[in-house]
Symmetry: C2
Subunit: 299 residues, 2 copies
């Protein structure tokens, strides 16, 4: 079924102990789409400036992503500059230029309004909510958020959480949102805020699902070849949502299986700089890694 994503499209400048890139294709909606596009149709809603390279449009089109919702505005594309050190578990943000993304208020193309599966990537909760109003038929709406909005837009975020089906966020954000250190407990508290399930991303340590039906933890795929963690979380979400949209199954078991797919895609993403390895990955590569993951977890 149709999967819609709304989020950022960026030019990323990133340095890790293994190398660096300048103005590479990035952004949450980009990683999400490239990942979800491995499973089926993806409708991308985002904004870029006039400087957005034609090559990058071709990369999105190359994955079969529907870019009818990708608008171009006068000005520069959103830029993010960051660095990873040591175990590379957390990015250090060195600079952010919101540019055209700063006052992005998505108006969905008419033909997107029947989307069945919706992912609201990181963004202002009030904007995420405005998008939600434009997809009345959605069967499953999942949102992401980040520390900035937990600190600066908590009321709007709590309001949004009463209207979505699920929240995806990282471990530090889950602790910040709930004030609780145990991630299982944090997840359970988030369930009381509205969502029927929460997926807590733990970077190299995998992900935790807390749902009304139960709790499940999956490790990350133990690749020794991490070059650049940028986009790992969004690739995970894209693989997960792509898998759910393809199967239509978001029962507890369905989500768990989808998390396995997300884990596989994320592990491929981090093995290259920027979107490089993710772009090169095929559905077969993902299936291969899912098989390895299943085999690894059988004991």
């Amino acid at each position: 079924m149709s999967l819609l994503v709304v989020g950022s499209i960026a030019l990323d400048t990133v340095e890790t102990p293994f190398g660096s890139v300048v103005d590479a294709l990035g952004g949450s909606a980009t990683y999400f789409s490239l990942a979800a596009g491995l499973f089926g149709e993806v409708r991308l809603v985002g904004v870029v400036g006039e400087d957005f390279p034609e090559d990058y449009r071709r990369i999105l089109a190359g994955r079969g992503i529907d870019t009818a919702g990708l608008v171009t505005r006068p000005g520069r594309t959103f830029r993010w500059t960051g660095a990873y050190k040591g175990a590379m578990n957390e990015a250090e943000t060195l600079a952010v230029e919101l540019n055209v993304f700063g006052d992005f208020n998505p108006d969905l193309p008419e033909e997107y309004r029947d989307s069945g599966f919706v992912f609201l990537a990181n963004g202002l909760p009030s904007v995420q909510k405005a998008v939600l109003r434009q997809v009345p038929d959605a069967r499953l709406v999942v949102c992401d958020t980040m520390n900035y909005y937990i600190e600066n837009a908590l009321d709007d975020l709590r309001d949004l959480l009463t209207e979505v089906d699920a929240l995806v966020l990282n471990d530090q954000e889950a602790r910040m949102l709930t004030g609780v250190d145990s991630l299982v407990r944090a997840g359970r508290i988030i369930l009381t805020m509205g969502p029927t399930f929460v997926v807590i991303k733990k970077g190299e340590h995998g992900a935790l699902l807390v749902a009304r039906d139960g709790v499940a933890a999956l490790p990350a795929y133990p690749t020794g070849e991490v070059k650049d963690p940028t986009g790992a979380g969004d690739s995970f979400a894209g693989g997960m949502m792509g898998s759910i949209a393809a199967s239509g199954d978001f029962s507890f078991e369905g989500i768990k299986r989808a998390m396995g797919y997300g884990t596989a895609v994320a592990s491929l993403t981090v093995e290259g700089f920027g979107t490089e390895a993710l772009r090169a990955a095929s559905r077969q590569d993902v299936e291969g890694r899912v098989r390895q993951l299943r085999e690894m977890l059988r004991f």
Copy 2:
């Protein structure tokens, strides 16, 4: 087959956000034995002072642990005082009194010398090596270590690693020993130091196996009821080694299965203060949790 453990037996004073205990039964060999004792015979080698409570001996005997190697020396028992805060991932050591453990140089009872499986818990590498000399028939020798010995006895530790089959240590220790942040890479570097496999313990994030035959990650069991993480790592090792000694299987698949058992036992341990929950756990409780873990990891 017979499993031998050499390590500390302590009186622990511990504070966590959920409560505290004073002079509770603790120590690496204690947690290891209580965990491994769920799977079969355990031979315990350690030292206590004249103040070691009779009740604590009964706890060990109650698990059927062979205490012929537990010697009592004039003086006080080893004492450790620590605290856990926040996510409780790391203990803050507030005080250590080595007491009779300070010059412990184990002389194994004659009837222990045919032990087939040996675990050298945390201790001076030179002492660990001296024990190794007394178990000439061991089929599998696994050792643990800690930051203190990596910093202060590195030559002895590296010497020991050329003679053992495996090393169990935590993530920070693996990074410290190798100077490498990626745990998969760190594990591979440790393999070049001698061991045929390495198990890296990651606390609430589970454990990683790096062997010549492959790599595998298992998550921790996501219990929301962590009260006191003391002894989790030693319980994990005890469950793992107990399972290996019971099956005799230390192939890659055998180790993985054993890690599943270690994970289950550790998750029970942390749900109570000190050894409380571990002592109360039965083999059936462990099997129940292993079943849940297997079910959780099937997707």
